[in-house]
Amino acid sequence: MTDWIEQTEDMVYKGRIKVPYTWWVGETGSHFFTTLRDEKKLLGTYCAKCDMVFIPPRKNCGRCFNQDLTWKEVADEGTLVTYTVPAYEADIHPIKPPFAYGIIKLDGADTGLTHIVTGFGDGQLKAGLRVKAVFKEDRDGHILDIRHFQPV
């Protein structure tokens, strides 16, 4: 009675999930992004209890739940903490290789910002490298308003 199982061809359905998303950035994030867009400045939020400046900014401190954080401008320049150079192309990548991903500790921040690093020479990438943000010309309030970081 189960002969049919062997005889049946394996059908595969090539489908997709295409649901568009609009993520609300919120008041705190909007202040960060409009400042980035309009003034090319990067803002972190400071928790006095933890004595830490967070970037990306937070409305509340995730560690102590302090709700009274204050804005603190951080530099658009900082130190590379870690990095990788992808050796493959993928449609999720916003740019073509060669480029690196890096975590950058901006001067004045206590946490690192993950972003893209380009413009480096052979063997130049290493922890401790000083990098600086390069801003897009036409900015629309998005994390990619920073086009990338590059060595100072």
């Binding site: 394996d10 990788t84 449609d91 916003p94 991903y101 500790k105 946490t111 998005h142």
Partner: protein, 379 residues
Amino acid sequence: MDKVGIVGVGQTKYERKKVGETFFDMIYEVTVKALDDAGLTIDDIDNVITVSNDFWDGRTISSMAVQDACGSRHKDISTVEGDGVYGAFYGAMRVLSGSFGTTLVVAHNKCSQSRMNQITNAMFDPIYTRALGLDAITSSAMQARAYMDAFGITAEQFARVSVKNHKNAKNNPLAQIALDLTVEDVLKSRLLADPLRLLDASPITDGAAAVIWANEAAARKAKKAPVWMKGVGHMSDAYHLGDRDLARSPALVGAAGKAYAMAGIDDPLKQLDVAEIYDAFSYMELMWYEGLGFCPEGGGGKLMDAGVTQMGGDLPVNPSGGCLSANAVLVAGLARLIECVLQVRGEAAGRQVKDCSTALAHGINGPCGQSHCVMVMGK
């Protein structure tokens, strides 16, 4: 605390692409296998926990695909979306609550059906990070680099993990990739994202797994002696990669500390007989050695070099071949736990660790091992 133990286990063979099988088919297979292993019938199962992920499955409410396949009709059921060790932990809690004598825990994934880059990109925050295009490989590569830089760990040491686990897999008939490799082979394999290479990474895998928990009374009905849960703990680090010290895993230290305290373990290297830990990438195994207290911070590479975690060493790690040899995401944690059960039972055949009475299973959730779950199993 009352006792809860595993009395039945079942796994599919792990394969690159099970083109003729649905989630439903795989879950039925492992449910029947686990019941047979336990000598129980579906009527002996009091409730069910399923483990799946809506993104991987391409289905919101991914658990709906398997309800009838795991025999959950007319039973309580719930779903953990995360690694299988977490699902197993919740299943054990439901027994410990006194509400149920047994829990069936099943997990499925067919990683072949989707695009890994897109699915793992969705781990990242849509407002601040996702548009950068990170995925599991590039984020892990940054962690691997941070770990190397912090402690002078080398690519050769990473490669030794790959050599060991792929070799161990040769004794595991369910493993997907079993290979005799040299360190050279790993170092010459295709670069994915510096410093990680193809043979440092786990494969794309389809598969499913099941375990059956029982309390003492229900376990008496099973045909095999239970392997008891001796200790358990889970903990999450911060989310944004830049918030964390990626070279260290304090959340694993915390999770393991809790599990060890429950299990009465103060010297894990000595007191554990085997460990199955989540090596989605080779470097992770070394980092997790440290978080699990098998060696001091920064000592993962040296522990590997000393051969301690090889088959025949003081604490063999991943005799099953680990995630590097088969990584049906989420299922992988349950596979770690099942290997522990087989080892403690003495049923691990060609990969059996001698005199095994205490085993550790470990799973992770989130990017770069943000959240860890550790479970100690024993006689």
